[in-house]
């Protein structure tokens, strides 16, 4: 089964089995504006929940992307090198950043599901 969870920092993680695909939400890409570069981690790197996992750069500024949960990087989206604008065009699809093997699926409980994230965005005005 597939399940998408969100952080308050606007990362998402899509869970398939013990693999999580991480990117930034549609709200986040709109806030950033035109994405021109994404710095991705090495395959095999390990992150704790909340560690910096990637850097996304718009024309204006660089922003850090944090790991929503702990895990080990198993794949990165090398397509972003040639087409960083995929993050704007299709943030939850072609614009994904990296996939990790979850270290502790219990950490997912602290994240928001889709309706909860939508409610959270409303509070941001």
């Amino acid at each position: 089964m597939t399940d998408v969870r969100y952080t308050k920092d606007h990362e998402y993680i899509r869970i398939t089995g013990d693999i999580g695909e991480i990117g930034i939400s549609d709200y986040a890409q709109k806030q950033l504006g035109d994405v021109v570069f994404v710095e991705l981690p090495q395959i095999g790197a390990s992150f704790g929940k909340g560690d910096q996992a990637a850097v996304v750069e718009s024309v204006k500024a660089a922003s850090e992307v944090y790991a929503p949960v702990s895990g080990e990087v198993v794949e990165v989206n090398s397509g972003l090198e040639a087409a960083p604008a995929s993050v704007n065009e299709d943030p939850l699809g072609k614009g994904w950043f990296l996939k990790i093997r979850l270290a502790d699926s219990g950490e997912l409980d602290a994240l928001m599901d889709e309706p909860a994230y939508r409610d959270f965005l409303k509070t941001l005005g």
Binding site: Q31, G33, V36, F37, S58, V59, K60, E64, V65, P84
Partner: protein, 375 residues
């Protein structure tokens, strides 16, 4: 995700066009104490490219507009700047910098010499929003007792219309502007118009009473050749044009010679001196500055930002980036910064250090994108 953008929580000033920006769906953010449009619905890159191709409308009402009037106003201003204003024709404009006694830059500004009665000088200054209060205090102190009157035109809005079609758009509304020379000034009714800008494109800046600006901007935006452009694209456009942003590329520690702005120092002024900071500036003109502002073209797609160190290929740190971004027009990453003078020559290979990586770059002459000013 976290953005390093700084937003002030204090109450922000708003321009007379604030409601228009909100209505157009702009993303607003604090800039130099003002709530300003960063980008509109089309986004930064689209706005940037539209300005290079057609005509972009910018609200720059946050900038300071100042009138100096009185006998000796030119001489008084020339003590604060190194540009030649006495040698400037009426209705002509020069770029200048207010200088500290040490030759640092308090602010950069545009100076227009207005027509005036014999014996009375009249000057129109446009200064940066973030330095307006400092500039006004500096002027007030310098002019005290001189008989020169300073008037801050807080009741006026300022817009810029920039790009190759700006001339055609504006001449339909303000006939006569098509005949203006680059860096010249004219008035039409209550409009103060300069053929100038901050994008490297041909274009105009138009000052109008605040009460008239909404209708004028609306009319411009109804023209299909015009789109609104936010401060985001204003920054990427000026970077491509090799133009300095105060507080980033120039400040009170940088001299105009180091900043590669010596072209703005008048020949007469170089010889005569008689301006703040003349000792340092004349010495640097004679001997060359210790460091220079340069342009960098990066090889890869990763941008280098303000603060990134600049190193030689063998790792010696020789300077730092002061502005850097992705250039929408060239689809390359470009930057400007200061390096020790020995490394400032065009084609010098250098690295920019970003998050532990050395990004290869080389020194290039600026502008990065050719200016298209009318000459």
């Amino acid at each position: 995700m976290s953005q390093s953008e700084s937003l002030s929580n204090s109450v922000l000033n708003v321009t007379p066009l604030h409601a228009l920006h909100v209505r157009l769906g702009a993303r607003m953010a604090g800039f130099a104490g003002w709530d300003m449009p960063i980008q509109y619905a089309d986004g930064l890159i689209a706005e940037h490219l539209w300005t290079r191709r057609s005509a972009g409308l910018f609200d720059v009402s946050h900038m300071g507009q100042i009138l100096l009037e009185g006998p000796g106003a030119i001489a008084a201003l020339e003590r604060l700047i190194a540009a030649d204003i006495a040698g400037l024709g009426e209705n002509r404009i020069r770029y200048a910098q207010f200088l500290t006694h040490d030759g640092g830059i308090i602010d950069d500004l545009m100076v227009t010499r207005l027509p005036a009665a014999i014996g009375i000088d009249r000057l129109f200054l446009v200064v940066n929003a973030g330095r307006k209060a400092v500039d006004v205090a500096h002027l007030a102190q310098s002019l005290a007792g001189s008989g020169v009157n300073m008037q801050v035109l807080d009741d006026r809005a300022l817009i810029a219309l920039q790009g190759p079609r700006a001339i055609d758009v504006l001449k339909d509304r303000l006939p006569g502007v098509e005949n203006m020379a680059f860096m010249s000034f004219m008035t039409i009714g209550e409009a103060l118009i300069t053929r100038s800008g901050y994008t490297g494109e041909d274009g105009y800046e138009i000052s109008l009473p605040a009460s008239q600006i909404d209708a004028f901007a609306d009319d411009l935006l109804n023209d299909e050749r015009v789109k609104p452009v936010g401060l985001g694209a204003r920054d990427s456009l000026r970077l491509e044009a090799g133009l300095c942003l105060y507080g980033h590329d120039i400040d009170e520690t940088t001299s105009p010679v180091e900043a590669a702005l010596a072209w703005s120092i008048g020949k007469r002024r170089r010889i005569e001196g008689g301006f703040a900071g003349a000792d340092r500036i004349q010495r640097e003109l004679r001997e060359g500055p210790a460091r220079k502002r340069i342009g960098l073209l990066l090889e890869g797609r990763q941008p280098a930002r303000e603060g990134a160190q600049i190193a030689t290929p063998d790792g010696q740190i020789v300077g730092a980036v002061t502005s850097g971004s992705f250039s929408p027009s060239t689809e390359r990453c470009i930057a400007m910064g200061y390096v020790a003078a020995a490394f400032a020559r065009a084609d010098t290979p250098l690295n920019v250090l970003v998050r532990g990586k050395a990004l290869p770059a080389r020194v290039v002459s600026m502008p990065f994108v050719p200016h298209t000013y009318i000459r």
